[in-house]
Amino acid sequence: MPIIETRDLRKVFRSVKRTPGALGALRTLFSREYVERAAVEGVTMSLEAGELVGYIGPNGAGKSTTIKMLTGILVPTAGYVSVAGLVPYQERKRNARNIGVVFGQRSQLYWDLPLIESFELLRAIYAIPAERYKKNLADFTELLEMGDFRNTPVRQLSLGQRMRGDFAAAMLHDPRIVFLDEPTIGLDVVAKESIRTFIARANAERGTTFILTTHDLADVERLCRRIVLIDQGRVIYDGAIERIKDQYGTHRTLVVEFSEDYPVVAVEGAEFESRVGNVARLRFDRRAISADQLIRRVTEAYCVSDVSIEEPELETIIRQIYVEGYTDPNAAPAAPAAVP
């Protein structure tokens, strides 16, 4: 049985229509004209326990709205939603026991109190048994290296320390599902990596299901095998990262370092992209020419000291999809020949 399931989940926001200008503002006070905007328009997805899924999409795509419906704080306009066997908006408090949440931009720790006091409070909120609490606290203190600042008031913590505190806070009660919203935003490379390691370990060792919402696709690439891509309230892709890379990553870049200076670099089958010093970048379609073939052509024509192949990054692919929209190549093949 899937741990999270939604079918045709919809959320329409209704807001008062505003007319510009001073008179308009006055009219807004009395008129009851509404504008409707669908933030989520029929999202269907299903997650198994223990999955670590990247839920991504451009700003305003409906990610946060979906998460809010899964956490039970927004009532869907239509559709079915079930989280660990519960309908979140009907049983918000029971659902809350099964989930944990980490918001990169919003701490849930008590600002004025030492970190440890927030943990104590959470222990009371979730009625965590003493043994379990002690064990989890000890584990997280070690994994997240919180020993040095556990007794410091939260307002004096650095962003990296605060985020680590927030992770521990979200997971002290052993939630089955944890929602992560931009968990590494604003962190430096080292802090990012330690957070990512923590997520990966919690997923592997505790079997916690994670839904990761982020704009940092490096997080997704490092942690998730599966992504759900959403745009304008609809799921446009749901599947393995590898598959989308395969479909979209038809082009590779061959980076060639020449041992001599060549004024012009041209190789048949590849497109000249850029050049810095004697390092040139050549873009090629791997369906038209194999890397092997291309390298042979390059080395036949030039003196080469080093070559390497760059695969497209998820970021590049996703950017392309945001701009062009997603088309499933397995669906009806596009027929450019039909265009006169």
Binding site: F13, K68, T71, L74, K93, A96, V101, R106, A124, A127
Partner: protein, 264 residues
């Protein structure tokens, strides 16, 4: 674990939190004592110049004003103020993701703050006594006052709650808040006893819910309400408490259904 435990914990944390701002504590007590002194001067001057209501002699009036100020130390704590800030800044979302009742959370948080401020009543009263004379009624009156004050505290909580929960609809409630706060101070008898309202206006004011917050306990304290009238007065307070509680529960249900988290 006991289902009440988290709420006791909230109150304790709020208590601890209040204690972290020491300067505020001192200024609070200082300004209160100053106001006690000013009110004594004001009332003494007013009584010397004007005809005062026959049922409140000057010493009772000064007692009334002083006790009202000490009560305000407790009643002006508004644990539900957080609603407004949290709805505006979006923090309400994380609170709603916890397995707790939020109204109860705000009540306990407010109660913790109150408990801290209640401790300040002692030094404030001690200092005030150096400047004014306060009548101390019989234990029976004090007991009735305590009961009435506790019910008034509840009414005040729900009034605050209702004002702040409006934030779920308008996101900006400061003006409403200020208006109701002034109305409740004036019409509730915090600034002047309701006896000062003339004729039918007085009758109206005495039957408004605001009277349940300051006026009823204070009238018990200064002896304006005889023991025979206590039961009726406190019953009226309970009535308002019930009405506000039901209203709050209804509004809260509606509010939960229309969470629109800012910046989400």
């Amino acid at each position: 674990m006991n289902p009440v435990t988290p709420y006791i914990e909230f109150a304790r944390k709020a208590f601890a939190r209040e204690g972290t701002y020491r300067l505020e504590v001192f200024t609070n007590v200082g300004s209160l004592v100053l106001r006690v002194y000013l009110l004594r001067c004001l009332w003494t001057a007013l009584y010397a110049q004007n005809a005062a209501p026959p049922n409140i002699p000057l010493h009772a009036m000064i007692t009334y004003a002083t006790v009202a100020l000490l009560m305000s130390l407790i009643l002006e704590v508004d644990g539900t103020r957080a609603i407004r800030e949290k709805v505006r800044e979006g923090g309400i979302a994380t609170d709603l993701m916890k397995p707790i009742s939020l109204p109860l959370y705000w009540f306990s948080d407010g109660f913790g703050q109150t408990a801290f401020h209640a401790m300040l009543v002692v030094p404030a009263l001690a200092l005030a006594l150096l400047l004014v004379h306060v009548d101390v009624p019989s234990p029976a009156v004090l007991a009735a006052f305590a009961v009435s004050f506790a019910v008034g505290y509840g009414v005040n909580f729900f009034l605050n709650f209702l004002m702040n929960v409006v934030a779920f609809w308008t996101l900006e409630t400061f003006a409403i808040q200020l208006m109701i706060r002034w109305a409740s101070d004036l019409l509730g008898g915090q600034i002047v006893p309701l006896d000062f309202f003339p004729g039918f206006l007085g009758t109206i004011v005495e039957n408004l819910p605001f009277a349940a917050i300051y006026s009823t306990p204070l009238r018990i304290y200064i002896g304006e309400l005889p023991p025979a009238a206590w039961l009726g007065a406190i019953a009226a307070q309970f009535l308002w408490l019930g009405v506000f509680a039901v209203l709050s529960a209804t509004v809260w249900r509606l509010a939960q259904r229309r969470v629109v988290v800012q910046g989400g």
